[in-house]
């Protein structure tokens, strides 16, 4: 089963209610956006518990910042930006823990394609990319964002984003070819 995610799948009025202190409305926002936030962190670290920790902290930060969120689309952009920053901060604070192939196998969710081994290998290779390339690749292929949208989230010029993408794809192709 593969969930289909839309850009800002937040029901109308939920944000306004959450801003007024309605906890059930905020819980609704968390439920709508948790897969996006969790997946960015998961694809960055290839580590479920670390991804959950970062995702929870991002939502707590959102709760504290609700007054600054202008719209549903701003909320989605804000969450992507805060999650990517938290990933980088967390990465810099601690050494990246190596993830075994067995652990990655345990993570695999419902499969959509016929080659789960290739998917697993790709996730491992992506998790081994330099941090900026990893974020750019995750935002491009998980969130389906174009370089102009990615540059607004990671705060880099669009040509730099394109260059990171290009280098990441070249490295991934080369590493897959070496297997």
């Amino acid at each position: 089963m593969t969930a289909v995610f839309t850009e800002a799948a937040i029901p109308e009025g939920l944000l306004a209610r959450a801003r007024e202190g309605d906890h059930s409305a905020f819980a609704g926002i968390v439920e709508e956006q948790e897969a996006m936030v969790f997946s960015i962190a998961f694809h960055f670290f290839n580590d479920r518990s670390r991804a959950e920790e970062i995702a929870q902290d991002a939502f707590l930060q959102l709760y504290r910042s609700l007054g600054t969120i202008e719209s549903e689309s701003h909320l989605v952009h804000w969450l992507r930006q805060v999650t990517t920053r938290r990933c980088i901060d967390s990465m810099r604070r601690t050494r990246l823990r190596a993830v075994s192939i067995d652990e990655v196998a345990e993570l695999a969710g419902p499969q959509r394609v016929a080659d789960p081994l290739l998917e697993r290998k790709l996730r491992e290779l992506v998790a081994g990319l330099p941090e900026t390339q990893r974020l750019v690749v995750t935002l491009r292929y998980q969130e389906d964002l174009d370089p102009a949208e990615i540059c607004r989230i990671v705060g880099l010029p669009v040509n730099t984003v394109k260059s990171h993408l290009h280098r990441a794809l070249r490295a991934l192709r080369r590493k897959l070819g070496d297997q």
Binding site: T2, A3, F5, H23, F26, A27, V30, E31, E34, A35, M36, V37, F38, S39, F42, H43, R48, E52, A55, Q56, F59, L60, Y63, R64, L107, G109, R112, V113, D115, L118, E119, R120, L122, R123, V126, V137, T138, R140, Y141, Q142, D144, L169, L172, R173, L176
Partner: protein
């Protein structure tokens, strides 16, 4: 092999772990998310305490400087007075020497 399509598949969104939203809400309801804003009154008190301390330190420093200045002035006055007395005594001695010289 189309690596971009494969990346789309490999990096598709994952469901968050079961109970994720409940755990977030539990942290919020425990007041964890309010922590930074829960004690806003502490900040003004800290600022006031810091201002009082700074005033005391600066006041003490200024009083010390003033005391030093006054002590310096007193010492200078005493030296000037001593010089004046010495000068008068010398003058008197010279007068007496001149007087003795005139009488002889």
């Amino acid at each position: 092999m189309d690596i971009e399509r494969d990346l789309n598949d490999a990096l598709r969104r994952r469901e968050a772990p079961a109970g994720f939203a409940s755990r977030v809400m539990a942290r919020i309801e425990s007041g964890e998310a309010d922590a930074p804003a829960a004690h806003p009154e502490r900040k003004p008190w800290r600022a006031i305490a810091a201002a009082i301390l700074l005033t005391a330190v600066l006041g003490g420093w200024a009083a010390h400087q003033e005391s030093e200045r006054r002590a310096g002035e007193r010492a200078r006055d005493e030296v000037l007075l001593a010089l004046r007395i010495t000068s008068e005594k010398l003058h008197e001695a010279r007068e007496q020497v001149n007087e003795i010289g005139t009488n002889h």
